[in-house]
Amino acid sequence: MKMLTRTAMLVLLPLSALAADPALDARNYPGPAWSPYIVGAGIGVLSWLTFYFSDKPIGASSFYATLAGMIGKIFARKHTGQLAYFKTEPPVVNWGFLFVIATIVGALIAALTGGEFVNEWVPPMWSARFGDSIALRGAVAGAGGVLMAFGARLAGGCTSGHGISGTMQLNVASWIAVAGFFIGGIAVAMLLFHL
């Protein structure tokens, strides 16, 4: 019975999201600086350019795998070289690696020039729900990162590689993966914020 009510709450509570604490509603926090349509169109055009000039789709997740392999090479060179993944994707500075480094700098420039540099360890909507412990935020974000990277490698890409670059090429794998991203993400986010 308790399970049943729990399940019912799980289904119903998200629907009543409007009635929730205003501090747990993303709409009560500052919105983006630019229209999502301008930004989306910009990323679309950027894709044309990366395809044309670099013969690469936009993607981010492989950066972290490359970085993992580079660190692995420092501590266990031989073992790292024997891993199946690094045989096909050698952990060396490559296009995707530089691309993500530049992404960090690009966001820094945008934040500084737009007066949006936040300089904070715990996001306000997180602390409204879970308090302002950096340790808790760090532990959950870290655990999320582990799951996310593992999922990205298994699925073959992330929100950029599959979610944007793959879907625009009408890649079936990407449409399936992106559906998974959102189903998994919505389910866990609802649990986190509504339970």
Partner: protein, 199 residues
């Protein structure tokens, strides 16, 4: 006019990892800068905007993604038709695509950033992204560690090879693109109507 396929440049051939030419380096840096700039301006380096999407409160993320897909596809396919670009199609493997997708999503909700937007978050001084990025490196290592075994198990489940929507829908490529553009645009219009976001 768009129904290519035969006469075009061979696409998505696995090539040996190219050495980084100066042209590639400059491209990666300029395009990466632009990507990070756009992500930050679009607000998707921000925790509450990303979580807001997963809580179905703020539709910024989906609006950006769908717009990028529409604009991207109306450029990429004509470019491919005239043999100016290669396509980069990843193989469809139902098992890993679905399981990996769901695991990724669960992680997404916990970290509140994705691999690209996490980089943007770090750039705008959201330091908690560092924990997430450390986790991403660890998770990548975990995958690499298991990659030999995964290759022969999960990654074989439901392997359909390189498939595109025109293949599975049995439609010409041009028609599929036209349908997708109309469909995604209609969704965007509906989203803007029902979930506007005044900044």
């Amino acid at each position: 006019m768009i129904d290519p396929g035969k006469a075009v440049k061979e696409s998505s051939v696995a090539k040996p990892p190219a050495a980084l030419s100066p042209k590639l380096i400059v491209g990666a840096l300029i395009f990466g800068l632009a990507f990070g700039f756009l992500l930050q301006k679009g607000g998707v380096g921000t925790y509450h905007i990303l979580l807001g999407q997963l809580l179905l409160q703020d539709w910024t993320v989906v609006k950006i993604m769908m717009t990028a897909v529409v604009v991207g596809m109306v450029g990429i396919f004509p470019l491919h038709h005239f043999a100016k670009v290669n396509l980069h199609i990843k193989p469809t493997r139902l098992g890993p695509n679905i399981i990996g997708g769901l695991v990724f999503g669960a992680g997404f909700a916990l970290i509140g950033y994705c691999p690209g937007t996490g980089a943007a978050a770090l750039g705008q001084g959201s330091w908690d992204a560092l924990f997430g990025m450390a986790g991403l490196v660890a998770g990548s290592w975990l995958y690499a560690e298991l990659s030999g075994r995964l290759k022969n198990t999960v990654e074989k489940w439901g392997d359909l090879g390189k498939r595109t929507l025109p293949d599975v829908l049995h439609l010409p490529r041009g028609a599929t693109i036209a349908i997708m553009v109309v469909l995604l645009t209609a969704v965007l219009i509906a989203l803007e109507r029902f979930f506007p976001r005044s900044s």
